[in-house]
Amino acid sequence: MNGATLHRVHLPRGATPSVSANAEVRPEQVLAVRRRPGQPVRVRVTEAFHRPPGQVAALLLARPGQLVEEGAPLARDPQGHELAAPVTGLLLGVSASDGTALIAPLGAEEPVIGHVHGRVRAVEQNAIVLEVPGVVLHGVGGTGEAVHGELTVAVHTPEEELRAGAIDVSATGKIVVGGSRASAETLTRARAMGVSGIVLGGVLDKELRDFEAIQRRRREIGGMTGSFGVLLLEGFGKVGVDPQRFAWLRSHAGRTASLFGAEGLLFVHEASPPPTRRALPRIGERVVAHRRPFQGRAGVLVAELEDLHATPSGIPARMGLVRFEDGRLAPVPMANLDATLVAARG
């Protein structure tokens, strides 16, 4: 266990929290509910009062954004005549061109789910702050909604590409750790198979955009159910997961994980501390490189060269000498290296 991590669940405006501070929450628990405004109803205020459209706004008894109850007075003229609201809903305003008031009836209650388990630290105006008993990995990008599920690993090595064939019904509802890349086809299939989320070392920007475009089209034509998220841990392109991280993820297969694609976060519950990263590595430390041609490769920093030296691109930089895991020795700008540190046990 690595103590607790704080996580903020954003509440859209108009949402009503259904938990209070110190409450214990589960991943699937409803933290708040909201009612989305629906197709607005037009109320002909002009006709009711025989007034020109330009004078209607002054007669309204509510401001835009206020909730009006069915049957409650919506407008009143100086003579005391009243017009009742025909439905309960949010007053959106009044059209000065035709004098109609727009009331958007509120739809059915929709849940706001936290996708993590833990304890409510605070309930704020636009967020619920949770203490999550687990650890969090920060990715460099991602897409999709917040999801949770059991962590599972679908590739044998961190450099392996996640193929569509590796996704089957056993992955339904799970968060699948892939390798260095997944095509738009693989991601689409995973979503169709009911996979909750995919964790990758890298993905081609084009593949991710294609996948997002497919999802957008499917959402527009309707029929898309469930949530799905993708998290990138290392970078864009074909980039393997750092072997240390991969080993840690593999050792936590079976635990509950929560993936926040758009925010680039992966919570693993009840987990041991993951390998951490630190800028400016020291000689002898294990490092991972972040830019081409060594992007995603791990090794050991064996020396730091004195003075500035030109990179192959010509930029003078502090350079480190890295013995990569494939045995190759290569100079890499220190700015492109992170030390990867395994947390001390106990």
Binding site: A96, V140, G141, R291, R292, Q295, P312, G314
Partner: protein, 580 residues
């Protein structure tokens, strides 16, 4: 530098240097007079060491490193840099001396202001309001307009989801009454609920009262219409209001130490001191700032919070547009991945030539996009005496010619313009000083402040292949060069070393223009030398490229080769030899 104390209100981005002097420094040892100028960016921290040497204050070392490395590492690097030349009485205490040295610092704002924009039209009121907001340091998180193709419910849902610091409403011309503007304001009132975030109305003034009534008292600030008519735009009052609001909402403690503000103050002071019209552009990982100052020091600036390199992926046209500007065959997919990685890890360096070419193309694009977005076409940037480039990508270009090319290609300064680079990153920290001290600091550092790149002569007009300029270059004590003939589309770089001045006699032909109100055929101008020289540019404003891929790459490669003339940095192989 006479300021021996740290700027009192200069916030430290990381660890504040200790105010207690180390015990050994209290001993009567040789005094070390030095000041550290620090610009802590969101990705890179730039530091310059100014010290008294042989009776004069000089810039003795500078360095840039990822901000995440921390200050101790920065001090270590600077100490190592000056150790070989430092007075040996203080050589072993350089780190401590640097730690105790007075420090003048500035930093990138912690975060940008987030804005929701609602307007009547995407193209008119919406575009004007967006441009004003984005050049005032805000990011537009969401925009809803009456003609955006969404249903009313979708628009409402969109506005309800977003988490913002302020709301900006625009719409309606001054001459008529726009009911749609009232409807969109009502929509915002409904979506905003009781969030309490301030609202700015920058639409038709006749609707201001009605809009104000839709919100709680004091929620709405009214500014003059940013789009008074279809053909007229007046973004200045809105931009100033948004700049003020940004300070109140995001940084109530003040913004003088913010790099974009400090950069503007420095450029203004430099213009005042030198009596020259100056444009400065500072491109960082996230922010892009451009400042224009007249010779009196009256400066206008634009701060694009999402205008830096990290945002290059989101620019209009995306990676495809950028790939068109590569002189070598790099496919769009690779460009997209590099831009995304730049966004994900802005404090890393392009290690391969291809990646560097992509980064440089991104700098050119972001400069051009920022000027376009603000409605400042290259043609309006005439009459500028000095163009200053700042920011890590420009300063760290392996060859000064690459920095010069990024500036000239991105900004397209029409006319005769001196080019310079803030290579040490000293302008922003100096701008964080008090008004009087900025001038003093610049006076002290006059010889080291900027790296002169040379002078550009950019013209527009004419048709392909036509003769546009005939230039004769006169230098005292040297034979005249030329006349050099430049035809439309041609670029030529003539050596004019640093410290050398030249008189240019320029004859314009076939409708070519160097800007300015008069269409003069003969122009005489002064040119200052620099590490690149004299850039004679008849490629037009804006730059155009051939349609065919091979032709385009050939043209881009020829421009690159024309600019690049210096020796490269010492190769790595020699240093590696011993290690192997």
């Amino acid at each position: 530098m006479t300021d021996e104390r740290p700027a009192a209100d200069a916030p430290a981005p990381e660890a504040e240097p200790s105010t207690e002097r180390p015990a050994e420094l209290e001993r009567p040892l040789a005094a070390a007079e030095m000041t550290l100028l620090v610009d802590a960016g969101s990705a890179w921290t730039k530091a310059a060491l100014v010290a008294r040497t042989r009776g004069r204050w000089r810039l003795v070392a500078h360095d840039a490193q990822p901000t995440a490395w921390g200050e101790e590492a920065l001090r270590g690097t600077l100490a190592a840099r000056i150790a070989p030349v430092a007075d040996r009485r203080v050589a072993d205490r350089l780190r401590q001396l640097l730690g105790a040295a007075p420090r003048i610092s500035c930093h990138t704002p912690r975060r940008a202001g987030r804005l929701a924009l609602a307007a009547v039209s995407v193209e008119l009121s919406g575009a004007s309001a967006r441009r004003a907001a984005e050049s005032a340091g805000w990011t537009v998180e969401v925009a809803a307009t009456a003609d955006d193709g969404r249903s009313l419910v979708e628009r409402l849902a969109l506005l309800q989801e977003v988490d913002v610091d302020a709301w900006l409403l625009a719409g309606g011309f001054e001459a008529g009454r726009a009911d749609q503007a009232l409807e969109i304001a009502g929509l915002v009132a409904a979506a905003r609920g009781g969030s309490g975030a301030p609202v700015i109305w920058a639409g038709a003034s006749s609707l201001a009262d009605e809009v104000t009534l839709m919100f709680e008292p004091d929620a709405v600030g009214v500014v003059p219409n940013a789009r008074p008519s279809a053909s007229e735009e007046d973004p200045l009052p809105l931009r100033h209001a948004l700049e003020g609001l940004l300070q109140r909402v995001i940084e109530p403690a003040g913004t003088r130490q913010h790099t974009p503000v400090a950069f503007r103050r420095s450029v203004a002071q430099l213009a005042r001191t030198t009596g020259r019209r100056i444009v400065g552009v500072d491109i960082g990982a996230h922010y892009l700032t451009w400042v224009r100052s007249d010779e009196e020091g009256a400066a206008e600036s634009r701060v694009f919070a999402a205008g830096g390199l990290a945002a290059a992926r989101q620019a209009s046209g995306g990676p495809g547009r950028l790939a068109r500007w590569m002189p070598m065959a790099i496919d769009e997919l690779a460009v997209a991945d590099v831009l995304q990685n730049l966004n994900a890890r802005p404090a890393t360096l392009p290690q391969t030539e291809d990646e560097l070419a992509i980064v440089h193309a991104a700098v050119r694009q972001q400069l051009a996009v920022a000027l376009e977005a603000d409605g400042v076409a290259g043609t309006e940037l005439d009459g500028i005496d000095l163009l200053i480039g700042a920011g890590r990508s420009l300063a760290a270009a392996p060859r000064p010619a690459q920095a010069a090319q990024m500036l000239v290609d991105g900004v397209r300064p029409l006319g005769v313009t001196q080019l310079a680079l803030d290579a040490a990153g000293v302008l922003p920290p100096l701008g964080a000083l008090d008004d009087a001290e900025i001038a003093e600091g610049m006076g002290v550092l006059r010889d080291d402040l900027l790296v002169p790149l040379g002078t550009s002569v950019v013209c527009r007009g004419g048709r392909a292949g036509q003769l546009l300029m005939r230039i004769e270059i006169h230098r005292t004590g040297w034979p005249a060069i030329g006349p050099l003939e430049l035809r439309s589309g041609q670029l030529q770089v003539v050596s004019l070393p640093r410290g050398h001045d030249a008189e240019l006699e320029i004859e314009l032909h076939n409708g070519a223009s160097l800007g300015g109100p008069r269409r003069t055929r003969r122009v005489t101008a002064s040119a200052m030398g620099g590490v690149v020289g004299l850039v004679l540019d008849a490629r037009g404003v804006p730059l155009g490229l051939p349609r065919r891929t091979d032709d385009r790459r050939a043209v881009l490669a020829s421009w690159r080769d024309t600019f690049g003339r210096e020796a490269a940095v010492p190769a790595l192989d020699a240093a590696m030899a011993g290690v192997r």
